[in-house]
Symmetry: C2
Subunit: 219 residues, 2 copies
């Protein structure tokens, strides 16, 4: 499968725009853990995920993290090319959560096409609206939901992404997704274990009662 | 001053698009406190502020509020027309914070022009990026900043908006901006008063030491 099949508005581009894109594209294999973009880097470009998984997060001055969204196969990352819009006044860090194959579209190339193409500009609008919705969901979670519900929802989301109830994840990593501290997450997971919802062992969280976790979330 | 002078990309529209816009526009005077849009309403349309002040906020199931951004003269409100983009998956409430004069651009009219006009689609992108930046700022505040700093920053912002150090605002209203509870805000303001930073009387918060409030924020 080639780029053409992954870029949803390919057929709405002119032949010249298609040629420009194909001429400027770069395909890259990145290993799990690689930081693809952060606020200090130059404008990396738009990232289209062929296969794999990326995580976008923000960092506090003290080094605390919180995940703002994740990207999977066929998702496009816009904020690694934040230079294309002057109104984007925030920095995100983009990291590969799994070994990932991406296409990089250079920012200036995309910007040029977007300036002249209503379909590309409207597609970009929908991309931004999708991420905006992710962040609004996050605001609602951190404002109105207690941490036990957020941890439960995170564990359920992970089992869905990974397709297994046995998650290879550290307490530190969970804390970094949720903007919390490792000690706080450890205490919460031990409480979940005492309630029979999870089983903890080194580097692993096994979900043993999905229904109980779900009802905790919905409560 | 007319609509043409307030709509920043007016000259980038075709004559036909200009006529469509002028033909579909509605000008409205709304009194302070009017709810212009909420999630249950039909798609209200885009709101362009001629003069006045709007507040966009979200509501929890329990009725708690948090302000996500505010709009002043010449600002455009996009999320009152969230139906124009299917990827906008969240609801905001828009309320007039002062007596306000707005133009309403019907959503379907704007959507039609945006679909064919790259300048309008790119302008809309910049609008959304601006609000996105507001919300990312909010996420950073609620994740990494303690409430004392957030209350101090809010009071300083208000004095700047209102052009006075004597704010006519209730503790309840401050709580609704910050997603907190009235009792918590009252306790915080009393602490600020004991530190000589504010002076409290019924319905009024007077800022008496701006420098001390500022250094609390920056701390």
């Amino acid at each position: 499968m080639d780029f053409q099949n992954y870029f949803p508005i390919w057929t709405k581009l002119t032949t010249s725009q298609q040629e420009q894109l194909l001429g400027g594209l770069m395909e890259r294999n990145v290993s799990k853990g690689t930081v693809l973009h952060n606020g200090n880097m130059d404008c990396t470009g738009l990232l289209l995920v062929k296969t794999g998984q990326l995580r976008a997060y923000i960092l506090s001055d003290e080094g605390r993290e919180i995940t703002i969204y994740r990207l999977f196969d066929r998702d496009m990352c816009l904020f690694s090319a934040s230079c294309i819009m002057r109104s984007i006044q925030f920095d995100v860090t983009i990291e590969a959560e799994k070994d990932t194959v991406i296409w990089i579209i250079p920012a200036d190339l995309y910007q040029g096409i977007m300036a002249e193409s209503a379909p590309v500009a409207n597609y970009t609008n929908e991309l931004m609206a999708t991420r905006f919705s992710d962040v609004m969901w996050l605001v609602e979670q951190i404002m109105w939901k207690s941490l036990d519900k957020r941890v439960a929802a995170f564990l359920l989301e992970e089992t869905s992404i990974e397709g297994t109830n046995t998650l290879k994840i550290t307490h530190e990593a969970i804390a970094n997704h949720l903007g919390s501290h490792r000690e706080v997450i450890t205490r919460m997971l031990r409480y979940f274990q005492s309630e029979g919802m999870v089983n903890l062992s080194r580097g692993t969280v096994e979900i043993t009662d999905t229904h109980k976790l779900e009802s905790l979330c919905d409560n």
